[in-house]
Amino acid sequence: MAAPLLLQGGRVVDPSRDLDEAADVLIQDGRIAAVGPGLGAPAGATVRDVRGTVVAPGLVDVHVHLREPGNEDEETIATGARAAAAGGFTTVCAMPNTDPVTDNQAAVGFIVRQSLRAGFARVYPIGAISVGQRGQQLAEFGEMVGAGAVAVSDDGKPVVSSHLMRTALEYARTFDIPVADHCEEPSLSAGGVMHEGLVATKLGLKGIPAAAEEIMVARDILLAELTGGRVHLCHLSTRGSVELMRRAKERGLRVTAEVTPHHLSLTEAACERYDTHAKMNPPLREAADVAALRQALQDGVIDCVASDHAPHAYDEKEAAFDDAPFGIVGLETAFGVAYTELVQGGALTLPQLILRMSTAPARVFGLPGGTLRPGAPADVVALDVAAGWAVDPARFHSKSRNTPFAGRSLTGRAALTLVAGTIVHDARAAAQA
C-alpha cells in the first residue's frame, strides 16, 4: 500500500457535511482517513503543504464525450480522463454517442476497461437508451448496468418518440438509474445553427427557438410524473426551461437537471463574426437566460454543472458556420469559468459551487465521490482559487482545442487532483515539465 498522505494547511470545503474550515485531510489506503484541524502525520506519511488552496471532494462531471471508440483523433478515454484530472475532476460520465454506439454490455465493458487502463479520473459509461441511438428499440439497460453503466441517454440526439421516453423511464426504474435526455424538438430545430434571436437575424443564420428545448423539457417532466421514473435533463439553456423545472421541483417530481459553464457565461453575441467555437447545441442564448440559469443553480432548481465536453478536430471547426459541428471542449476550463463568472461574479459562494460541481452531481447519478467523509474514496481536489491564468488551448491535455474561451483570463484551477488517494494531476509538476 502507498504511504499515507497528509494534505496540510488547506481550507476544507465539503458540501456533503456542510463543512468549511481550515483543516488537514489524511488519506490512507486510498480512502479518507480523517479530516480536522492540526492532524499529526502518522509515521511514514507524506506531507503535502496545501496552504492557500481549497481542499474539496473531487469534481464530478456527468456529461462528457470522450469519442472512443470511433473518433480517437479527437479524444480517447485516456486523454479525456487526463484532461478531466487537470480540470480537477475525479469522476466523469461518458456519453454513449460513440462509433459504434455504446448500447450493449460489451461496449460498456470496453469503456470501463479503457478507463482502468488509463488511470487519471474515473470514467463511468452511460449506456444508450435505444439501440444505435436510433430512437426505436430499447437497449439492454440491465446488462449495461451490470457491466458498469450508471445512467442511460441518447444524448446528441433527442428522444423523439414520447412512447420510447415513457418506456425508458418505466424500465429504468428496475435499476434505479436516471434517464438523461437531450431536450430538443427536432422539427422546430431542424437546420438551426444558433439561438433564434436578433444575432441570428443579423448574421442570416437559421435559429433554434427556445421553444424547441422547452417543449421537450415539459414533456419529460410530464412523463416523469406519469412513470415515477428518474429523468435528468441535460444542458438546459433557456429561462423557460428553468421555469418548468422550478414548478416540477415544487411538485416534488424526480427530475434533475444540469447546466454547462458556457451557458452560464456566454450569450448569442459570441457567435458574431461567425465564430464556430461558439456553435453548440443547445445554442448560447440571451442575457436573460444566463441570469435565470445562474439563479436556478443557486436555488438548486438546476442540480449541477456539467461540461458537455465535446472535442472536435481543429479543421472541422475551420469551416463556414453552417458546416461546422456543434460543441466545445470544457473539462479544462469548467472550474475556472465557473469560479470566475459565478463566484467572483457574486452569483454563488465557493461552497455552493463545489456543491454543484461535486456533491450534487455525484448524488444525482448515484456515484461514489462528492464527499470527504472519512471512509469515502479519497477523490480529492486542491483548488487554487487565487491563481490567475490565461486559457491557452495549446496546453490542453485534451486532444482537441475547440474552445470559445481561448485567451480568456480566468481565476481558479486545480492545483492537485487525487483519485483513490493517488495523485493524478499536480499543477506544480506539470508547470515544471
Binding site: T201, L203, G204, L205, K206, E318, A319, A320, D322
Partner: protein
C-alpha cells in the same frame, strides 16, 4: 489597401454612412463608361480578380465580370455548383490556393452565411461579398440605393418598404442597413412565417398587409419568393401568395402618391409581382441592372486603393465627350 473601405466589402452593416455615400458618389462617374463606344478604362490594369461562385447566379456574376473588364482587370471565373465543393473544408483549401496564386481580389458568392467573412479573414487579397447565404448582398443594396437616389433625388426621408420573404433574404438585410444608415424610413412587409425574429430592433416597421405598404411607401422593393419556401411549409401556395401579397396593377392604382417599384431579380412574374407592374411605368428594374455595373466598378476601384476624388480621371481619356 485603402482606408476608404477597409480590405473587404462583406456587408453594409459595418460601413459608415460616409463610406456608403462615397461608394455611391464614386459610382457616378463610372456610369458614363458603360455608355461609351469603347467601354474600357485602365483603372485596374494589371490586377487579377477571381469570381468565385459557389452558388448559381447569372445577373450578379455577369455584372461583376463586366465591371472588372471595363476597369481592365484580368479575371477568372470559377463556378462550382457541385455539392462537394460547397463544404467549409473546401473553402479553407480554396482560400489557401487563391492566396498561393497571389491574386488581388476575390468576388465570392456562397450559400453559407459568413462565407465571405471566412475568406476575408484568411487571405490578404481583397474580398467582395457577392451574396453569402441569408446574410448580406451589399452590392445589390448599393445599386438599389443608387437607383433610389437617381429616381427621387435623395435617400434621406424616403419611405422604402421591402416586400416578401424577409427571413431568407440577404438583399433585405443589406437594404435595411444601407437605407437606415442613409436616413430613409424602412418598413418590411410579408407573411409572418417569413419574418425573422427581432427585425424591428434593426429600426424597421413591420407592415402586415401589402395594401398598407402601398399606402405608406414611396418605394417598394419586391423580393423574389422562392418555390422552395412553399415546399418547406412557410406558405401554403404561390397562388395564395400572389392573391395576398402580390404587387399588382390594381393594388398600385390605390397608391396615394407616385410609387417606384424595384425588384432585385430574377423575377417570378405572377408570384410576387404582376408582369404589368414589372414592365410598367412604376418599374425601375432595368435601371437597377444598369446601376449594378457602375456600383461594382466603384467598389472594386475603391478596394483596389483608387482615390475616390480621382475616379473621374482614372477612367482615362473618354472616347466620347464627357463633362
Amino acid at each position: 489597401m485603402t482606408a476608404a473601405l477597409g480590405k473587404d466589402l462583406i456587408g453594409l452593416e459595418r460601413l459608415s454612412p460616409d463610406q456608403i455615400r462615397l461608394i455611391l458618389d464614386t459610382a457616378e462617374p463610372f456610369k458614363e463608361v458603360s455608355e461609351r463606344l469603347i467601354k474600357k478604362v485602365p483603372a485596374l490594369r494589371g490586377k487579377t480578380i477571381v469570381n468565385l461562385f459557389f452558388e448559381a447566379s447569372t445577373r450578379t456574376r455577369i455584372s461583376f465580370e463586366f465591371a472588372e473588364k471595363r476597369l481592365s482587370a484580368d479575371t477568372v471565373n470559377v463556378a462550382t455548383t457541385g455539392s462537394a465543393v460547397q463544404k467549409g473544408e473546401t473553402l479553407v483549401d480554396t482560400a489557401k490556393n487563391l492566396e498561393a496564386m497571389r491574386i488581388d481580389m476575390v468576388v465570392i458568392r456562397h450559400a453559407s452565411s459568413g462565407a465571405a467573412q471566412f475568406l476575408g479573414d484568411r487571405i490578404r487579397s481583397n474580398v467582395v461579398n457577392a451574396g453569402d447565404g441569408k446574410h448580406e448582398h451589399p452590392t445589390q443594396a448599393l445599386l438599389d440605393l443608387l437607383t433610389i437616389r437617381d429616381k427621387l433625388g435623395r435617400i434621406e426621408g424616403v419611405k422604402v418598404c421591402l416586400v416578401g420573404d424577409i427571413l431568407h433574404s440577404r438583399v433585405a438585410r443589406s437594404n435595411i442597413w444601407g437605407l437606415t444608415k442613409l436616413g430613409a424610413q424602412v418598413a418590411v412587409c410579408g407573411p409572418h412565417s417569413l419574418m425573422p425574429r427581432g427585425i424591428e430592433e434593426l429600426g424597421v416597421t413591420v407592415l402586415r398587409r401589402v395594401e398598407e405598404a402601398i399606402e405608406w411607401a414611396d418605394v417598394l422593393n419586391v423580393l423574389r419568393l422562392q418555390l422552395e419556401r412553399m415546399e418547406a411549409g412557410f406558405i401554403p401556395s404561390l397562388r395564395e401568395y400572389y392573391r395576398v401579397f402580390g404587387v399588382t396593377v390594381e393594388r398600385l392604382a390605390k397608391a396615394p402618391r407616385a410609387l417606384t417599384v424595384m425588384h432585385p431579380g430574377p423575377m417570378n412574374r405572377g408570384v410576387e409581382i404582376d408582369s404589368r407592374v414589372a414592365d410598367g411605368p412604376h418599374s425601375v428594374i432595368l435601371d437597377q441592372v444598369t446601376n449594378g455595373v457602375a456600383v461594382r466598378m466603384a467598389v472594386l476601384y475603391l478596394l483596389a486603393g483608387g482615390k475616390p476624388e480621382l475616379a473621374d480621371a482614372a477612367k482615362g481619356p473618354a472616347a466620347g465627350g464627357t463633362d
